[in-house]
């Protein structure tokens, strides 16, 4: 439809280019002897009307398209609002012994990592990286502080005291979360975290195999992005900044 409007406008311009020097004759339908083109205001009028009609159709099409886009956006916002309230909820104990759930972090950006305190190298490395990201963002004036969270996938050993001992080595605002086996299982399911305790050795020690990712949650509590081992602290900080700049809340 838009093509038709554009086409008729182009045709109108073309025909005006060709007929500037021909004399105006009212009601004439005769062909010019020089070029063979039909001339006269009647044709010009017809062309003008066609062009206006085409433009009108084009305009109407644009308005309808904009309305459709707006409706689609509203549906998406509504779906996100429902997800923000229902999905990814958890009920866990922080390292001070207080119960926390997802709604407690509404209004804050959250960087979350799932691991365990008996981890040989990966969890400390990833948590160091997470802390560096938080520090990069803290250094930037005007940005709200990001909340770093460490959730254990080894609730059998990582009780509140163990979590408190562990998180103090990384960052004063790093929050450790633990709970019962069911609570941890539920939180891990929400964030699609795989974990599996390995075989115990003579002193009952074991390693927990688990998926490795830092999750970014937006202030509505919605999962926004995730970062694997391959991303550096600078890359993650850049990504978080971009998400912050683009963020629009779906909750009032």
């Amino acid at each position: 439809m838009l093509l038709l409007a554009q086409g008729s406008k182009a045709w109108l311009r073309l025909s005006l280019l060709k007929t500037p020097i021909f004399p105006r004759t009212l009601g004439s339908k005769t062909l010019s002897k020089r070029t063979g083109l039909p001339q006269g205001p009647k044709l010009r009028t017809r062309l003008l009307i066609t062009a206006l009609f085409g433009a009108g159709l084009g305009g109407a099409w644009l308005v309808v398209r904009a309305e459709k886009e707006q409706r689609r956006q509203q549906c998406r916002t509504e779906a996100l609002r429902q997800a923000a309230v229902g999905q990814g909820d958890f009920s866990l104990l922080d390292h001070h012994g207080h119960t926390r759930c997802k709604a407690d972090f509404r209004g804050q950006w959250v960087l979350m990592y799932f691991g365990f305190t008996h981890c040989p190298d990966i969890c400390p490395d990833e948590l160091e990286k997470l802390v560096q990201v938080v520090q990069h963002l803290e250094a930037q004036p005007g940005l709200h502080p990001v909340q770093p969270i460490f959730v254990t996938v080894d609730p059998a050993r990582d009780n509140v005291a163990a979590m408190a001992r562990y998180v103090q080595d990384f960052h004063p605002r790093l929050l450790g979360l633990t709970g019962s086996a069911e609570q941890v299982a539920q939180a891990s399911r929400s964030y699609r975290v795989y974990y599996s305790a390995g075989p115990k050795d003579e002193d009952q020690d074991y390693i927990v195999d688990h998926s490795i990712a830092i999750y970014l949650l937006n202030p509505d509590g919605l999962f926004t992005d995730y970062y694997g081992r391959g991303r550096s602290a600078e890359q993650i900080a850049d990504s978080v900044r971009q998400h912050m700049a683009a963020f629009q809340s779906v909750l009032s």
Binding site: T117, H118, P120, D121, P124, R157, D158, A162, R165, Y166, D169, D201, E202, D203, Q204, D205, Y206, I207
Partner: protein
């Protein structure tokens, strides 16, 4: 058994790095690095020693693999 603190972790990693450095220098000859091996074993939990040993095996394998030392079999009839 409490998890190692940050300091304990760093002591363990240091001992591991020293041991691995010795292995690098001696072409994986463990008999020449026994002192460092003992130090490594006393600094780290047993689970971690097993884990780091496996990790070293994997890293060595990965080096060889990336250097092209493992070629796919050219006779599919044998499988």
């Amino acid at each position: 058994m409490a998890a190692p603190s940050m300091k304990e972790r760093q002591v363990c990693w240091g001992a591991r790095d020293n041991y691995w450095q010795c292995l690098e220098e001696n072409a994986e000859d463990a008999s020449r690095c026994q002192q460092l091996r003992k130090s490594f074993e006393s600094s780290c939990p047993q689970q971690w020693i097993k884990y780091f040993d496996k990790r070293r095996d994997y890293l060595k394998f990965k080096e060889k693999f990336e250097a092209g030392q493992f070629q796919p079999s050219k006779s599919p009839a044998n499988s």
